[in-house]
C-alpha cells in the first residue's frame, strides 16, 4: 500500500483525502516509511519531524472528518528546504554556524502551509546558505540523486528535489537565487517553479541575495506545482518587496494547451558547451511544441553572456552583507577558544562557514570595498539593467521563452567541487531570469541514454506564472515522465 501511496501526485492524494479513501495520517506514515527506507541512500533530509507531521496529519483528518478542510491540499505531507524558518524546529541553512538554532518564529510561507493544513515532514538538505549547484557545499553531507546515487541532485534546493523525486514527500518548497529550484528539478525529473520576484514572501527565508531570492514550489507534476504555488503566492505586509497582487488562479486554464502561443527560442541559450544529449532532447521538445500548435520564434538576448559575471558580483555582494549577522552573539555557534571580541568574530565566522560561503563573502566584500565599488558592484548593476531590457524586448515579440534548464544532466558528486568557475557555469541558463526578476519553470522533457533526467526551462513575463504552468502542462500531458519509476 505505502509504496503505491507515495507514488501518487499531490492532487491525486488530495482527491483520495477528500473522499476519505485515504487519511492524512496514512499518507504521512507512508511518507515517513519511505524516508526510513530510502533516505539512508538519498540523504535528502537534515531532520525529520515525525511527531510534528503526525500531529498535523491528525488535525487534518479531523477537519476532513468535519467536512471543513483548510485547503485543497489539506493533509498532503510536504518537505521544506532548511532555509525556511520553522518555529521550534531547528533550522541550519545547511551551515555549521547555525547548528542548534531553533527559530522563535515561522516563515510566512511556512505559516501559510500550516494554515492550509499540510503536514511538514521535515527539513531538507541544501548547499550552505544556498550557495552552490550540487548540494555538496552542505556542511552536513551531500544529497544523492535518486536517479543515480553517484550523481548530484543539483542545488541549492537539491534535498527538496531529491526528496520529491524519491517519493519521500509529495512536494516541497525550495528557493531560487540563480536557478536553485529549476536546476535541481531538471536533474531529478521534477517540476520546479521560480515565481516572479515579489510574488512569494521572503519573510523568514534565510537571505542569500535579497534582490534575487525567491521561494517556490517543487513537485512531481505541473498540476501539483500549480496547486502548491497558489497556497504561497500571497502578498505579505512583512516583506516590503512583496508585490501587492492577487493570488493567481493557475488551475482553471491549466489544460488550455499552447495553440496560438508564440514561444521564443533565445539563440544565446544554445551555445557550445551544451551536452549533445541535452540539446537533442531540447530540439525534439521544441518540435513537439510546434506540433501542438505553438509558433517558435528565434529571439536574441544579446547580453546573456554577461549574466554570469553580473550575477556573481551582485549575489556575492549582497550575501557578504546578509551573512554579517552570523557572529555568534545572539544565536548560532560561537568559536569556543576565541580570546577577545575580534577573535570572537573572525574565528566564529572562519570556523562556522564553509569554503564556498567564505569564497563568496570574500568576493562580495571585495566588490563593495572602497575603490572597487564602481568597477565591480555598480557596473554589474548597470549590466543588470541591460539584461532586464533584453527580456523586455523579447517579451514584446513572444509569450514565453523556452530553453534548456541546465547545459548538462546531473554530474558526478565530487566532479566540480574544487573548480568554482565550472560549477558557476551550471547556472548559465537559469540566472538571467533572476537578474530580471521574471518567473521561470523547469519541467521534465526526457532522459539521456544513461537514464538521467533532462529539464526544459520556460521563462515568462512578470506575474505570468499561470501561462508558464499551462505551457508546461501541455508538454507534460504528452509524456507523463513523472510516472517513470525512480530506481532508488
Amino acid at each position: 500500500m505505502s509504496s503505491t501511496l507515495t507514488d501518487l501526485s499531490m492532487l491525486e492524494l488530495a482527491a483520495k483525502l477528500a473522499t476519505r479513501e485515504v487519511s492524512s495520517v496514512e499518507a504521512t506514515r507512508a511518507s515517513l516509511q519511505r524516508i526510513a527506507q530510502v533516505d539512508p541512500k538519498v540523504r535528502a533530509f537534515l531532520r525529520v519531524d515525525e511527531p510534528g507531521a503526525l500531529k498535523a496529519a491528525e488535525a487534518s483528518d479531523a477537519r476532513r472528518h468535519a467536512g471543513s478542510p483548510a485547503s485543497a491540499l489539506d493533509g498532503v505531507p510536504v518537505g521544506l528546504k532548511d532555509i525556511f524558518l520553522t518555529e521550534g524546529l531547528e533550522t541550519t541553512c545547511g551551515s555549521r554556524i547555525l547548528e542548534g538554532f531553533v527559530p522563535p518564529y515561522d516563515a510566512t510561507v511556512v505559516r501559510l502551509l500550516k494554515e492550509a493544513g499540510l503536514p511538514l515532514v521535515g527539513k531538507l538538505n541544501m548547499d550552505e546558505f544556498a550557495m552552490g549547484s550540487s548540494n555538496e557545499s552542505s556542511a552536513y553531507f551531500p544529497t544523492h540523486n535518486p536517479w543515480d546515487l553517484t550523481r548530484t541532485p543539483g542545488g541549492s534546493s537539491g534535498g527538496s528535489a531529491a526528496a520529491v523525486a524519491a517519493r519521500e514527500v509529495f512536494g516541497a518548497l525550495g528557493t531560487d537565487t540563480g536557478g536553485s529550484i529549476r536546476q535541481p528539478a531538471a536533474f531529478t525529473n521534477t517540476v520546479g517553479l521560480k515565481p516572479t520576484y515579489g510574488r512569494v514572501s521572503r519573510y523568514g527565508v534565510i537571505a542569500f541575495a535579497s534582490s534575487l531570492d525567491q521561494p517556490g514550489p517543487m513537485a512531481r507534476t505541473v498540476g501539483d506545482t500549480a496547486a502548491l504555488f497558489q497556497l504561497i503566492a500571497r502578498h505579505d505586509p512583512r516583506d516590503s518587496t512583496s508585490a501587492d497582487v492577487a493570488t493567481p488562479d493557475c488551475l482553471t486554464g491549466l489544460e488550455d494547451g499552447v495553440r496560438g502561443l508564440k514561444l521564443g527560442v533565445p539563440r544565446e541559450y544554445f551555445t557550445a558547451g551544451m551536452d549533445p544529449e541535452v540539446e537533442g532532447t531540447l530540439r525534439a521538445s521544441l518540435e513537439e511544441f510546434e506540433r501542438m500548435g505553438a509558433t517558435l520564434v528565434d529571439v536574441s538576448l544579446p547580453h546573456t553572456k554577461y549574466a554570469l559575471a553580473t550575477y556573481y558580483l551582485l549575489a556575492s555582494s549582497e550575501a557578504s552583507s546578509n551573512l554579517a549577522r552570523y557572529d555568534g552573539i545572539r544565536y548560532g555557534q560561537r568559536a569556543k577558544d576565541a580570546r577577545g571580541l575580534k577573535e570572537l568574530y573572525t574565528q566564529t565566522r572562519g570556523q562556522g562557514f564553509g569554503a564556498e560561503v567564505k569564497r563568496r563573502i570574500m568576493l562580495g566584500t571585495y566588490a563593495l570595498s572602497a575603490g572597487y565599488y564602481d568597477a565591480y558592484y555598480l557596473r554589474a548593476q548597470k549590466v543588470r539593467t541591460l539584461i532586464r531590457e533584453d527580456f523586455t524586448r523579447a517579451f514584446q515579440q513572444v509569450d514565453a521563452l523556452v530553453s534548456p534548464t541546465s547545459p548538462v544532466p546531473a554530474f558526478k558528486l565530487g566532479d566540480k567541487v574544487d573548480d568554482p568557475l565550472s560549477m558557476y557555469l551550471m547556472d548559465v541558463y537559469t540566472l538571467p531570469c533572476n537578474l530580471a526578476g521574471l518567473p521561470g519553470l523547469s519541467v521534465p522533457c526526457g532522459f539521456t541514454q544513461a537514464g538521467l533526467p533532462v529539464g526544459l526551462q520556460i521563462l515568462g513575463r512578470p506575474f505570468d506564472e499561470a501561462r508558464l504552468l499551462r505551457i508546461a502542462r501541455a508538454f507534460e500531458r504528452e509524456h507523463d515522465f513523472f510516472r517513470r519509476a525512480v530506481p532508488v
Binding site: 542548534g100 570572537l344 539593467t385
Partner: protein, 95 residues
Amino acid sequence: MALTLEQVRHVATLARLSLTPQEEARYATQLSQVLDAVAELEALDVSQVEPTSHATLASSLLREDVMRPSLPPEAGLANAPAKVGTAFAVPKILE
C-alpha cells in the same frame, strides 16, 4: 586581475573571517580567476545606463505606527551562546 595575499588578508579582515595560510593562498588564486572572468563586463559601455538595485519597482510599502508585542526575552535570548540576565554577553569591548 591578480589578488595579492595582502589584499586577501585585508578583505578577510573587513569580512571578519579568520583564514588559514592555505585558505589565503587558495582564495588568492580562486578570487583572481573569478575577477578575471568578471572583467568581461568592462567590454560594455554602460556610461548611459541606470543601475538596477531592485528586481521590481513596486511602490514603497509602509506600515502604520502601531506597537506590537515584543518577543518574551526568554524567547529572544533562547539561542544566545552567552548571556547575563536578559543581556547578550560578549568578551569585553575595548572601546
